[in-house]
Structure formats: structure tokens, C-alpha cells
């Protein structure tokens, strides 16, 4: 739990502070793997089912497992109720999360199978996709699915002229706000997901990458701790 709170952001954080982070694995008894992650007021549950048979059959891959992802914001996770069901934002986010995770998993060990990841945002206050990806990686590990590496993700951004880590919705509403979700593969030190909306210089990009990578390293340590926490107890 990172609680430096020495800075001048609305909630007292320094520019490179995460919001209070909470991570827990194995929270759902009836999934093969699961995790719960909080980035401040953003809350997400991740569950993993599989490896299992593929339906419809013609989607199966004879040489490896397919990794499928569902990203869902529950209706009361946001201020104005969200209609249940898919929208295009959810489809896109599920796609980029799934692409970031695929190279982590030894998919070739499970030919003709599917591994399904379900991500439910139960409360949203910016950073839902990065919290969800961080949780998904934990849930895969909790499911005992062999992985090359873990992925941790956090957004860097800019608000009121400052480069910041892990923006809240309030900060994202600034006139000059930039939001840049970043996911890192820990050991490989590679960016596995990168998106950005806003208006920024190449120099901003460089600085945000530095800030985001520090955040991801911090998160990767917390991921390890959360896994140890569960497997020590059992």
C-alpha cells in the first residue's frame, strides 16, 4: 500500500504517487483464478476460467489456446447509470488487454483450448483499464496458468501543466488533461499496452513513460506480495 501523500495534488499525493492500491488474489471461490484490485476509488474484479473447450468449435486453434477477454462496467459503477451490455469502448479495451496478456502466457501448452478472463469494473474513477489489466495478470497467475512474465499497468498523464502518475477522474477533467495508460512486462522491461488521448509534445511522452514505468515497477512488487500473501496462508 503506497501512501506517500507528501505532494500537492487534490488528495495530497506527489506527482509520482499512486492512489492507495489494494490487491487480493483468490477472492472468488468458483473461478479457476481471481483477483480484486483497487486503485483509489476504482475497483475491479478479475476472474479466469480455463483452459477449457472452445465453442463455437471452428474458433479453436489446433496449436495453442485462445485467450479471450471480457471487460464490463457494471451499471452502477459510474455516476450516470450505464446500460448493461457491450459497447464499442468495452470491445476495444478487451482487445488491447487481451493482446497485452497473450505473450505472457504459454498458450502453446493448451492447444484447442480457451482461457477466458472476465473483468468487472464495480466502481470507476479513472484508470479502469489499467487496474483491470493488473488484476487480470494476477488472476491468471492465481489460476496456475504458466506465464513468462507478469504485467502491471498504470496511467501516466498531465493535468494543469504537471506530469502525474495515476490520475483521478477529477484530474482528468482538467482543460489540458492527457491520459496515457501504460502496461509493462516486468522482467522484459517492455511496454505491452500504450494508449493516449490529449495533446502533448514528444518531451511529455518521454517524461510520462518514465513516470509510468516507475509506477508499474511499484505495482509489480505489490503483485508479487499479493500472490505471496495468498500462497503463504494456504
Amino acid at each position: 500500500m503506497s501512501e506517500k501523500k507528501s505532494g500537492k495534488r487534490p488528495d495530497g499525493r506527489a506527482y509520482n504517487d499512486m492512489r492507495p492500491v489494494k490487491m487480493q488474489v483468490g477472492v472468488l471461490k468458483h473461478a479457476n483464478g481471481s483477483a480484486y484490485v483497487e486503485f483509489g476509488k476504482t475497483h475491479v474484479y478479475a476472474s479466469v476460467h480455463g483452459p477449457k473447450k472452445v465453442h463455437p468449435r471452428h474458433m479453436e486453434d489446433g496449436e495453442k489456446a485462445i485467450l479471450r477477454c471480457r471487460y464490463n462496467m457494471i451499471p452502477f459503477s459510474v455516476n450516470d447509470r450505464k446500460r448493461p451490455g457491450y459497447d464499442r469502448r468495452s470491445v476495444e479495451i478487451a482487445k488491447v488487454i487481451s493482446e497485452a496478456l497473450q505473450p505472457m502466457v504459454f498458450l502453446e501448452e493448451f492447444p484447442k483450448s480457451a482461457i477466458d478472463i472476465d473483468l468487472e469494473i464495480t466502481q470507476a474513477d479513472a484508470g479502469t483499464r489499467v487496474a483491470a489489466l493488473t488484476a487480470a495478470s494476477l488472476a491468471l497467475a492465481d489460476a496456475g496458468i504458466p506465464m513468462h512474465d507478469m504485467v502491471a499497468a498504470v496511467a501516466a498523464g498531465r493535468a494543469n501543466g504537471e506530469i502525474l502518475l495515476d490520475l483521478t477522474k477529477e484530474e482528468e477533467d482538467a482543460k489540458d488533461a492527457v491520459d496515457m495508460p501504460v502496461a509493462m512486462a516486468h522482467r522484459d522491461n517492455k511496454v505491452m499496452l500504450l494508449q493516449m488521448d490529449g495533446d502533448m509534445s514528444k518531451e511529455d511522452l518521454k517524461q510520462m513513460l518514465i513516470v509510468a514505468k516507475e509506477g508499474c515497477s511499484e505495482l509489480a512488487e505489490m503483485q508479487k506480495a499479493a500472490l505471496r500473501e495468498k500462497y503463504k496462508v494456504e
Binding site: V27, H30, D116
Partner: protein, 262 residues
């Protein structure tokens, strides 16, 4: 699985359950309210390893033409861990639909939620309340967990503020005014396994269930909704017995789990 089922049936002959509970005993029920910052009311209910959350959101809408002075309620349910049947898609899952409808009818029939107080301007504008349920973890007895969560979310709920034009203003906090919920309607389910009636089945037990009956009662003991399911059927006597069990159980929940939470 098969072995498990036979073992459960064997134990039932001696009125015993896997986890040592009595047939009409529920697992510990825990209600947490106010779990969501963005809902007008919310609750998380844990019954053993079954976890359900429910949230209430309010919006304004036109009333239905045939009830111009009444608010409106709509209920949806989604399942988390059963991701598989989501991915395979098709028409909306029957299980979700039935769960949402049973919970919805239990609250509606009880008239605990006062739809007339949800009217803003007759014939023009009323409150529309969205009840949304998410099943996080499923170790049996979903309907009861969802029904408890729904009742608790409504009891927790407060109206949002309206701006000068009568639109919901989300830039300021909720008002202090409670959603008009005047009692605790509770849907309790009795299941039959090999001719034996039992409460609050686990998922393992539910594999052996022949039939279930869910009876919603309100505070005065009146029945406000019934839903039978499964394929085994019930005799009259079993139905009357189930009505007694569910009334008693609902009363106990009101006096214990709900007292603790509110």
C-alpha cells in the same frame, strides 16, 4: 461429482448436511451497505461463499400512460464467474432473467417500495429506479442472496438532487431524503432433495436438487410472490411447509442480519 451426489443423498437420510448445518439453517449472512460511491444505494451480501452486490440508481422519466402518478422500477442481473455462458452468447441467459424477475416481483408485490411517492409531476415526470444485481461468486442460493442485497440497497438509497430545471444534478452529493422503502420484503428459497426440504443450499447440494420454491414475505408475514423452479414438483403439504419455513427465516434475517447492518 457423482460420488459427491451419492454422499449428499446418503447423509440426507439421516437429516445431515455436508457442512453440519440443520436442514432449515442458513449459513452466516453478512450485509454490508454503502459499498459503492456512485450508486444511490448499494449492498454486498455474503452467504457462505456466495457473494452478490446490488446497486440502486435513480433517474427521471415519463410515467407509463396507464399509471401516470407512479414511479417506475427496472431490475437487471448479471453473473460474473459463469463467464463461459456469456462468451458463447445467444439470447440473454434464462438464469439471469429469472433471477432478476423473481427479485423484482418480490419487491414490487410487497408494495414496500412506495411507487406513488416516486412521482414528481403526475403524468409528466416520475422517478425511475434501476436495480442492478451482480453475482460475484456462486456457491448456491443465489435468489436469496440477490433478494437480500436488493432490499438492503433500497433501504440504503437516497434521492439525488435535482437542479433548477428539474434534472438530476450529479455535481453535488445525494440529498438526505431516503427512497420510500417501508419494510423488508425477503425472498427465501426452499429446495427439495430426495423428498427432503432444506434451506440455503450450496452449489454442491444444488446438483441434487429436484425442485425449488421461492416465497417472498413482507414484515407482517404476508406472501407477496412465489416462484417454483426445477423439474421435481411439490405436493400441497410441502408448499404449505415451505411457506412456514420461509416466513420464519425472513423474520430471523430482519431481526439479525438487517439489524446489524442498519
Amino acid at each position: 461429482m457423482k460420488a459427491n451426489k451419492e454422499y449428499i443423498l446418503e447423509m440426507l437420510k439421516a437429516s445431515k448436511r455436508l457442512d453440519g448445518r440443520a436442514l432449515d439453517e442458513m449459513r452466516p449472512v453478512k450485509i454490508e451497505i454503502g459499498i459503492s460511491e456512485n450508486a444511490e444505494g448499494s449492498a454486498k451480501v455474503t452467504i457462505g461463499d456466495t457473494v452478490v452486490i446490488a446497486g440502486v440508481k435513480m433517474a427521471t422519466a415519463e410515467p407509463y400512460p396507464d399509471s401516470p402518478d407512479k414511479g417506475v422500477m427496472t431490475t437487471s442481473a448479471e453473473f460474473m464467474p459463469c463467464a463461459s455462458h456469456k462468451f458463447e452468447g445467444g439470447r440473454p441467459g434464462e438464469v439471469e432473467v429469472e433471477l432478476a424477475r423473481v427479485v423484482d416481483r418480490g419487491i414490487r408485490g410487497s408494495e414496500c417500495l412506495d411507487f406513488e411517492k416516486l412521482c414528481i409531476t403526475p403524468g409528466e415526470k416520475v422517478w425511475l429506479s434501476f436495480l442492478d444485481i451482480l453475482v460475484l461468486d456462486h456457491d448456491g442460493n443465489l435468489i436469496d442472496a440477490a433478494g437480500i442485497a436488493a432490499a438492503a440497497a433500497f433501504l440504503d438509497a437516497k434521492f439525488p438532487a435535482l437542479d433548477s430545471e428539474g434534472k438530476v444534478d450529479r455535481s453535488i452529493p445525494l440529498t438526505d431524503k431516503k427512497i420510500p422503502m417501508s419494510g423488508i420484503p425477503l425472498a427465501i428459497t426452499v429446495r427439495k432433495v430426495n423428498g427432503v426440504l432444506m434451506l440455503d443450499t450450496t452449489e454442491a447440494e444444488e446438483e441434487s436438487v429436484d425442485a425449488r420454491i421461492t416465497i417472498t414475505t413482507k414484515d407482517n408475514g404476508n406472501i407477496t410472490s412465489i416462484q417454483m423452479g426445477g423439474t421435481g414438483g411439490f405436493t400441497d403439504a410441502e408448499i404449505i411447509e415451505a411457506a412456514k419455513i420461509t416466513e420464519k427465516t425472513a423474520k430471523k434475517l430482519r431481526n439479525e442480519a438487517f439489524k446489524k447492518a442498519f
